[in-house]
C-alpha cells in the first residue's frame, strides 16, 4: 500500500505542476489575447453576415476607412484613410487612402478595393443580407433592388488609386462612425476574383489560408464551435504599434461555462456574466467585474393589428404597469430602466417618456373600456426559447397584479420566433435591438411603414414626415430635434413598450491594458496589450 502511494505521489505532483501555468498565463507569455465570443460566426465574409459576433472577428481581419479610438466612441483616428473631408451639407465625402496601405499578402490596398467591396455587397446577384447599411449612398438602394444596373450611377467614385469619393442620398453627418461597420470595409478584390466571380457566394476565399485582409491580424484557423485563431499581420500599416501576437475567439455559448472557464484562467475576457452571478463576483472578485452601458435596448413589440392591442390606451396601460426599476435591480442586473427606445448617444439626449405608474395604468385601462382587465383576452407573449424565462415571469406577475391582464409565454426556436414577428403572427413579443452606429436613426428608421424590422403593423405619417425632415437637415442640432419629436410620437403611441437599456456585465482580467469603457463596445484589438 505504501509503495503504491509512493509511486502515485510523483505522478500527482507532475500532474499538478504541468497544470500550474494556466492557459491565460501561457497566453500572456505568448501575447495571445483570449476572448469569449459566445457563438460561432455565421461566416467571415463581411458581405454575408449581419451579427455582432462576426463583427468582433472581422474587425481584427479587416480595417475600414476610419479606425477605432480605444477611449472614445466619437474619436476618429485614421485607418485605411489618412484624411477626409466633406462638403457643407454632408452629402459628399472624400477619403484619401494611405499610399503605403497593403493587404496581408503584400498587394497594395487601393480605392478600387473599396469600390469593389461596395459594388459586391450591393450587387443583387450576391444578395448580401445587410446591403441596406449602404443605402445611404446615392442610388445604392436602386442598384441593390435591380432598378438600375449601371454601377457608375451609384455614388461611389475613384478619381485615382488613393482617393475615394462617396456621394450620399441625403446629409449623413454620422458617416465616419458608420464606416467602422464591416459593411463599409474593403475586401481583397484580387483574392476574391482568384477564387471565383465577384458575386459568387460560396468560394474559398474566406477560409483560413486564403483569407487576405488589411487589419492588424490575419486568420490562422477556424475550428467550428471551438475557436477562431488570428495572428499578427506584419504588413499592417501600424504593425509596429500592435502589441499582441494574436487574438483567439472562443465561442462559449453557455455563460456559466464561460464564467467558470474565466475564473479557472482560461479566458482574458468573457462575453457575458450571467445575472445570478453578478453579486457573487462583486463580492469575491471585484477586480474582474465590468458593468458598462451598451448600445442596445430591450423592449416589447406589440402586434397592433390584433383586437384590444389596437387600442393605444391598452398598450400604454401595459407599459405603465411595468416596474422597470424592479426588473433591472433584480433580474436584468446591469441594465438601466428606460422610458423610450433610443439610448443617450453622443449629442442626442432623448426624453424618458414612460415610467412605472400603476394608478395611471389602471385608470387608462378602465378608460379604454376594460376596467380591471375585464374583457381583455389572454395574450401570448412570444419569446425566443433561449430568452429570459425570469423576465417573462416577472412581466406576467406585473400585468396580472396591476391590470388583471393574463399573458402566457410562447417560447419558440429562434427561426420561428423571427418568422412569427415578420408575419405579424403574434400578440406581443419580447425583443431587443442593437444599434449599429452612434446615431438615433439606427433606432428610429426601422419603425417606418414596411420596414422589415418594424413588425408591429404600426405606422404614422407625422412620424415619417419628421424622419424625412431630419434626413434632409444638415444642421446637426436641428436634425436631432426632429428625431426627438419623431421619437415622442412613437413612444406615445406605444407600438413598442420600452423596458431597459442594455448594460453589459462581463469579466476582464486586470493585465489587459488599452481596454476602455465604450458604448459601442468595439475595443480596437490593435491597441490592446497584456501586462501581467
Amino acid at each position: 500500500m505504501t509503495r503504491c502511494t509512493l509511486l502515485l505521489l510523483p505522478a500527482l505532483l507532475c500532474l499538478a505542476s504541468c497544470q500550474r501555468e494556466t492557459q491565460v498565463e501561457k497566453a500572456n507569455r505568448e501575447k495571445i489575447f483570449i476572448v469569449g465570443n459566445a457563438n460561432d460566426p455565421k461566416a467571415l465574409d463581411p458581405h454575408l453576415v449581419t451579427g455582432v459576433i462576426e463583427h468582433n472577428i472581422i474587425r481584427a481581419l479587416l480595417e475600414g476607412l476610419v479606425a477605432e479610438d480605444p477611449e472614445s466612441d466619437t474619436g476618429y483616428p485614421p485607418g485605411a484613410a489618412t484624411s477626409w473631408e466633406h462638403n457643407a451639407d454632408f452629402t459628399e465625402w472624400t477619403f484619401h487612402l494611405r499610399p503605403d496601405g497593403k493587404w496581408s499578402d503584400g498587394a497594395p490596398l487601393t480605392s478600387a478595393d473599396f469600390d469593389f467591396a461596395y459594388h459586391r455587397l450591393l450587387h443583387p446577384d450576391l444578395a448580401g443580407p445587410y446591403a441596406e447599411m449602404l443605402y445611404f449612398i446615392k442610388n445604392a438602394e436602386a442598384f441593390n433592388k435591380g432598378e438600375i444596373t449601371d454601377w457608375s450611377q451609384v455614388g461611389v467614385a475613384t478619381p485615382d488609386d488613393y482617393t475615394l469619393k462617396i456621394t450620399m442620398r441625403e446629409p449623413v453627418p454620422f458617416l465616419l462612425g458608420m464606416t467602422r461597420h464591416y459593411t463599409w470595409f474593403p475586401v481583397p478584390r484580387h483574392v476574391i476574383l482568384r477564387f471565383g466571380k465577384m458575386t459568387d457566394r460560396f468560394t474559398k476565399w474566406s477560409e483560413a489560408g486564403n483569407y487576405v485582409g488589411n487589419g492588424p491580424f490575419v486568420l490562422k484557423e477556424w475550428r467550428f464551435n471551438d475557436k477562431v485563431e488570428t495572428v499578427k499581420n506584419p504588413l499592417y500599416w501600424n504593425a509596429a504599434h500592435v502589441k499582441l501576437n494574436g487574438v483567439r475567439f472562443v465561442p462559449v455559448e453557455n455563460f456559466y461555462t464561460e464564467t467558470r472557464g474565466f475564473l479557472a484562467g482560461q479566458l482574458h475576457t468573457t462575453y457575458q456574466l450571467p445575472p445570478p452571478l453578478v453579486e457573487k463576483i462583486r463580492a469575491e472578485h471585484p477586480e474582474f467585474l465590468r458593468q458598462e452601458p451598451y448600445l442596445a435596448t430591450d423592449f416589447i413589440r406589440t402586434n397592433i393589428t390584433r383586437p384590444v392591442l389596437d387600442n393605444p390606451k391598452v398598450r400604454m396601460a401595459m407599459s405603465l404597469a411595468i416596474d422597470r426599476k424592479q426588473l433591472c435591480d433584480n433580474i436584468l442586473q446591469g441594465n438601466t430602466p428606460c422610458g423610450t427606445i433610443t439610448p443617450d448617444l453622443g449629442d442626442y439626449h432623448p426624453d424618458q417618456i414612460v415610467s412605472f405608474d400603476p394608478e395611471r395604468a389602471k385608470a387608462l385601462l378602465a378608460e379604454a373600456g376594460y376596467p380591471g382587465g375585464k374583457g381583455v383576452p389572454r395574450f401570448k407573449i412570444l419569446m425566443s426559447s433561449t430568452g429570459s424565462r425570469a423576465t417573462i415571469e416577472a412581466l406576467q406577475a406585473m400585468w396580472k397584479d396591476t391590470l388583471g391582464i393574463l399573458v402566457d409565454p410562447q417560447p419558440k426556436d429562434w427561426g420561428s420566433y423571427v418568422t412569427a414577428q415578420q408575419k405579424l403572427d403574434y400578440d406581443i413579443a419580447l425583443a431587443a435591438w442593437t444599434g449599429d452606429y452612434l446615431d438615433p436613426s439606427t433606432f428610429l428608421l426601422m419603425w417606418t411603414k414596411g420596414n422589415g424590422n418594424n413588425n408591429t403593423g404600426w405606422s404614422n405619417e407625422e412620424f415619417e414626415r419628421l424622419l424625412s425632415e431630419a434626413a434632409h437637415q444638415s444642421d446637426e442640432k436641428q436634425r436631432l430635434e426632429f428625431f426627438k419629436k419623431a421619437e415622442r410620437i412613437l413612444i406615445e403611441e406605444q407600438p413598442i413598450l420600452p423596458i431597459s437599456y442594455r448594460g453589459r456585465n462581463y469579466l476582464l482580467r486586470p493585465e489587459v491594458k488599452g481596454w476602455h469603457k465604450l458604448l459601442l463596445d468595439n475595443h480596437p484589438w490593435a491597441e490592446i496589450s497584456l501586462e501581467p
Binding site: 456559466y256 450571467p274 445570478p276 452571478l277 453579486e279 457573487k280 416596474d323 424592479q326 426588473l327 435591480d329 433584480n330 433580474i331 419569446m383 425566443s384 426559447s385 433561449t386 424565462r389 425570469a390 417573462i392 415571469e393 416577472a394 406576467q396 406577475a397 402566457d408 409565454p409 417560447p411 419558440k412 426556436d413
Partner: protein, 323 residues
C-alpha cells in the same frame, strides 16, 4: 407457506412476498407520501402559497416559517413550487412510462417470439424511429397540437371547476390544470419514442427465455402462441422489464427538464422538478438550497421507485415460490 392457501392468486402471493421485503415497503410508503403531498396539497384551495406569485423584494431567501424552503430568484415560494412541480413531474413520469412500456413490451415480445422476417421488419422500424431527430418531431408535434392544447385547457378547466365556478375558482383550477394540458405534445412525443429501448431489451430477453426448456415443454403440450408468450415467457422476463421501467420514469422526468430548457416542455411560470433542478443548478454557487430541495424530492422518489421495483421483481418471480 401457511398464509399462501390453496386458492390464492398469483397477485396475492406476490403481495405477501412483497410485504416481507423491508426496503420495498419503505419505498412504497415514501412513494405514497410524496404522491399524496404532491397531488393532494396543491388541490386544496389556498393551502399552499401561489407558486407563481413573484415578490421581487424577497428574492433568494433562506428557509423561514413563512417560506419553508425559502424563495427563488423571483421571490416565489419554493415549497409550493416543489409541490406543484412534483405533480407535473409525477404525471409526466407515470403517463409516458406507461405508454412507452406498454408499446415496447408488446412490440419487443412479438418480435422476439415470432422471429424471422417479422422480427427483422419490426426491428428495422425501431431503427428508423431511433435515428429520427427527436427534437424535430417534438417541435413539430407541439406545433401541430398547440391549438388543441389551448382548447383542451379551457375544456378541462370548465369541466373540473364546474359551470357555476367563480373567476377565482377558475383561476385556481387553471393553475394546476394548465401545466398538464400544455404538456400533452410532450407526453405523446416522449411516450411514442421512448418505447424503443424497452422493445429491444424485451426482445432480447424474450429470445433468451424462449429458448429455455420449459417453453419447449409448453410448446410440445400444444399451447397457443399467445398463451405461451403472455403466460409463460413474459412473466419469466419481468425482471429487466420492471427494472427498466423504474429507470425510465426518472429518465423521462429529466428529459422533460431538457425540453423545458429548449422551450418545449412545461411553460413558464409553471414548474416541474426537472425545471427546478435546472434553475437551481444556475444558483448552485450562490443559493445551493434552490438546487437541494427539488433534488431531494426527486432523489427520494427515485430511490423509492427503485427499491419498490426490486421488491416487485422478486415478488413476481415465478421461481421464487419454490424457495
Amino acid at each position: 407457506m401457511t398464509s399462501a392457501e390453496k386458492g390464492s392468486s398469483l397477485w396475492l402471493d406476490a403481495w405477501l412476498r412483497l410485504r416481507r421485503n423491508r426496503a420495498s415497503m419503505v419505498g412504497l410508503v415514501f412513494l405514497f407520501l410524496i404522491g399524496a403531498i404532491c397531488v393532494i396539497l396543491p388541490s386544496i384551495p389556498d393551502f399552499l402559497q401561489d407558486p407563481n406569485k413573484t415578490d421581487l423584494l424577497h428574492r433568494n431567501l433562506g428557509s423561514s416559517g413563512e417560506h419553508w424552503f425559502g424563495t427563488d430568484h423571483l421571490g416565489r415560494d419554493l415549497f409550493s413550487r416543489v409541490m406543484f412541480g412534483g405533480r407535473v413531474s409525477i404525471a409526466v413520469g407515470l403517463i409516458t412510462t406507461f405508454v412507452a412500456v406498454t408499446i415496447g413490451v408488446v412490440w419487443g415480445a412479438v418480435a422476439g417470439y415470432v422471429g424471422g422476417r417479422m422480427d427483422a421488419f419490426m426491428m428495422r422500424v425501431v431503427d428508423i424511429l431511433y435515428a429520427l431527430p427527436f427534437l424535430v418531431i417534438i417541435i413539430l408535434l407541439s406545433k401541430i397540437l398547440e391549438p388543441y392544447t389551448d382548447e383542451l385547457t379551457v375544456w378541462a378547466v370548465d369541466l373540473i371547476a364546474g359551470k357555476s365556478a367563480t373567476a377565482k375558482q377558475l383561476n385556481d383550477t387553471r393553475t394546476w390544470v394548465e401545466p398538464l394540458s400544455t404538456l400533452v405534445p410532450v407526453f405523446v412525443a416522449i411516450g411514442a419514442l421512448s418505447w424503443l429501448t424497452v422493445s429491444r431489451i424485451v426482445r432480447a430477453q424474450v429470445q433468451s427465455v424462449a429458448s429455455l426448456d420449459f417453453v419447449e415443454a409448453a410448446r410440445s403440450l400444444g399451447l397457443g402462441h399467445l398463451r405461451i408468450l403472455f403466460r409463460h415467457i413474459l412473466p419469466n422476463s419481468l425482471g429487466p422489464i420492471i427494472v427498466y421501467t423504474t429507470l425510465t420514469i426518472p429518465g423521462v422526468m429529466m428529459f422533460e427538464a431538457t425540453l423545458s430548457f429548449l422551450g418545449l416542455g412545461v411553460k413558464a411560470p409553471n414548474s416541474s422538478w426537472g425545471v427546478l433542478i435546472q434553475e437551481g443548478a444556475n444558483f448552485m454557487l450562490t443559493n445551493p438550497m434552490q438546487l437541494l430541495f427539488p433534488s431531494i424530492f426527486f432523489s427520494v422518489t427515485l430511490f423509492s421507485l427503485n427499491f419498490l421495483g426490486d421488491g416487485l421483481r422478486d415478488a413476481l418471480d415465478p421461481k421464487a415460490a419454490k424457495d
